[in-house]
Subunit: 380 residues, 2 copies
Amino acid sequence: MTDRIREFLEARRRAGRDVGPCLVVDLEVVRDNYTSFAKALPDTRVFYAVKANPAPEVLSLLASLGSCFDTASVVEIEQAMAAGATPERISFGNTIKKERDIARAYALGVRLFAVDCEAEVEKIARAAPGSKVFCRILCDGTGAEWPLSRKFGCTPDMAPRVLEHAHRLGLVAYGVSFHVGSQQGNPNMWDGALRSASSIFRDLAERGIQLQMVNLGGGFPTRYLKNVPAVKAYGQAIFRALSKHFGNRIPETIIEPGRGMVGNAGVIEAEVVLVSKKSREDEVRWVYLDIGKFNGLAETTDEMIRYPIRTEADGSATAPCVIAGPSCDSVDVLYEKEPYLLPISLEIGSKVLIEGTGAYTTTYSSVGFNGFPPLESFVI
Amino acid sequence: MTDRIREFLEARRRAGRDVGPCLVVDLEVVRDNYTSFAKALPDTRVFYAVKANPAPEVLSLLASLGSCFDTASVVEIEQAMAAGATPERISFGNTIKKERDIARAYALGVRLFAVDCEAEVEKIARAAPGSKVFCRILCDGTGAEWPLSRKFGCTPDMAPRVLEHAHRLGLVAYGVSFHVGSQQGNPNMWDGALRSASSIFRDLAERGIQLQMVNLGGGFPTRYLKNVPAVKAYGQAIFRALSKHFGNRIPETIIEPGRGMVGNAGVIEAEVVLVSKKSREDEVRWVYLDIGKFNGLAETTDEMIRYPIRTEADGSATAPCVIAGPSCDSVDVLYEKEPYLLPISLEIGSKVLIEGTGAYTTTYSSVGFNGFPPLESFVI
């Protein structure tokens, strides 16, 4: 929470415009985060993961700071370019692309693509000839709050064949990527993946192909309720692992922070719609907010991300409650398995501030489930 | 799948407009469903649950057929009215409402509101004086494919106090509602809830308050992969339970079908974007579609709803596969725990038809996660 956000929200309330939940993102925090990444990993290019928050103001700021962009679709490529990024600063990082989207990206000037299988390599060879490709590998996500599924990447032993296939088809077999899991709390988790990557580099070198780049992915955490290591610690751990596995031939590296770039820059203001109990004997209150899983807080699914919630009554006596969203959908419950402590004095109409919500909130919103509009967003 | 939908999709393909996934809803099926409900429960008013699919054409058809509407928000009330429903045919069925939204509904003419606690009753007494309220009670959701959480409703023993409170504040204590769980496969599950409802009726009568209505909720299933009982069986079971618990004083009843009204009226056409394996030894292919959890198929969460998927190669040899969506989000996997059998000959660019997708698809779509647009929808 910053003074700028606090002042913005106060002005919004005074103007009587606080009729629904909204996210406020402070660009000064985004700027600080970018600077921290650049300092912690001085030889690494930053590719901001646009999907985390594609607000034009965020993209423009990052473009002006020199950031590159990791994109998931042609629309995101266009958003990055509209913000001032030239195409050589854009990676089409989705391993699942339609061939016509690859062709559109190529026409826009993009020359860097992710793959994890031979079929995707073939699409790129046809639709984006001569481009650079990096192969995503599966790696261990232990320590991540949101470990990734096996959806993206192939096993490390399959990667050399994928990259060699690219080379044979006239593409530049450029490197290896991996992702150690979202909200990764352990800076040492890059070590194992870098060991795999270096092994792939050696394997390809034996086949006469010189890989050049390791994409270190995202996973850099933002602070929710628990403290997380500073970006500096990640930089040091990654540099140690790079030296250990690549010796004095350290490759070009890139990172793809999303949550780590914008998560702590945003605060959602929401309103308590109802406080009730299910029976006269219940000890736990239900607190219903005007924001839930379908209009911004999708990442509370399975209670994986536990956002800090601030209220005007903080410091007064608290009691456990279940927190739920406003929709007529019974899955729209935010925290129930582990009830959340909120002030007893919280009542209908009270405002709450949900911190650390700059990433993965606005675009996760449904287009209009139950007639509720997508989360309103302000970037200041 | 109907001939009309098939012809529509063929024309779309011929016109080269099949560049992304789309939902096609056949109004003839919606009309048949409405007629089945009206026949199976001739003395029951139908309140279509707008949230299931608020397409204007669907609402207009239902309004013209005489349907009433169960709404979750002021926007849905406005949608129903724009489709031709008069306010006395609209229920504000969300138990979680802002007082200013109650006031707006009241100003629009709505006089029927759901409650499940005294605090909500007080809001309605202030913002919608003299209106009818029904109290939602918790009930057993055994047998439902998607059993509801405890989010909505109070225990049956608390309901009389809530309704008496409404009566004291000048509201019409009108009745009781419950929901036996979404996609409820057992028509006899209404019996227990109706027993609770009749007990509340008697309790209130002893306090000098005559309740008039039982809202039987939704839960009427649509056919996915397994057969479900016909609406007629639900009508018979409900009538039996009503007679058993209310004798010859059967109250006014309403139902709130959503999925049962539009689920089987819709088919999504999607495209295979990638077919791959994670390692050379893997037996299970990954099939990636251009539709996933964030642009229409949110109800595959936890693999609860298993949609029938048709392909042009149906009838040929099949093999198990994991099915995933197109986004750069590792949770965007549709079926993995129990792999799905699809034809071995399925390849990149193949079209697939996902049946039973008329409900809870378009509005569950994210506003633009990963730059992918919300699910396109056609009503024919």
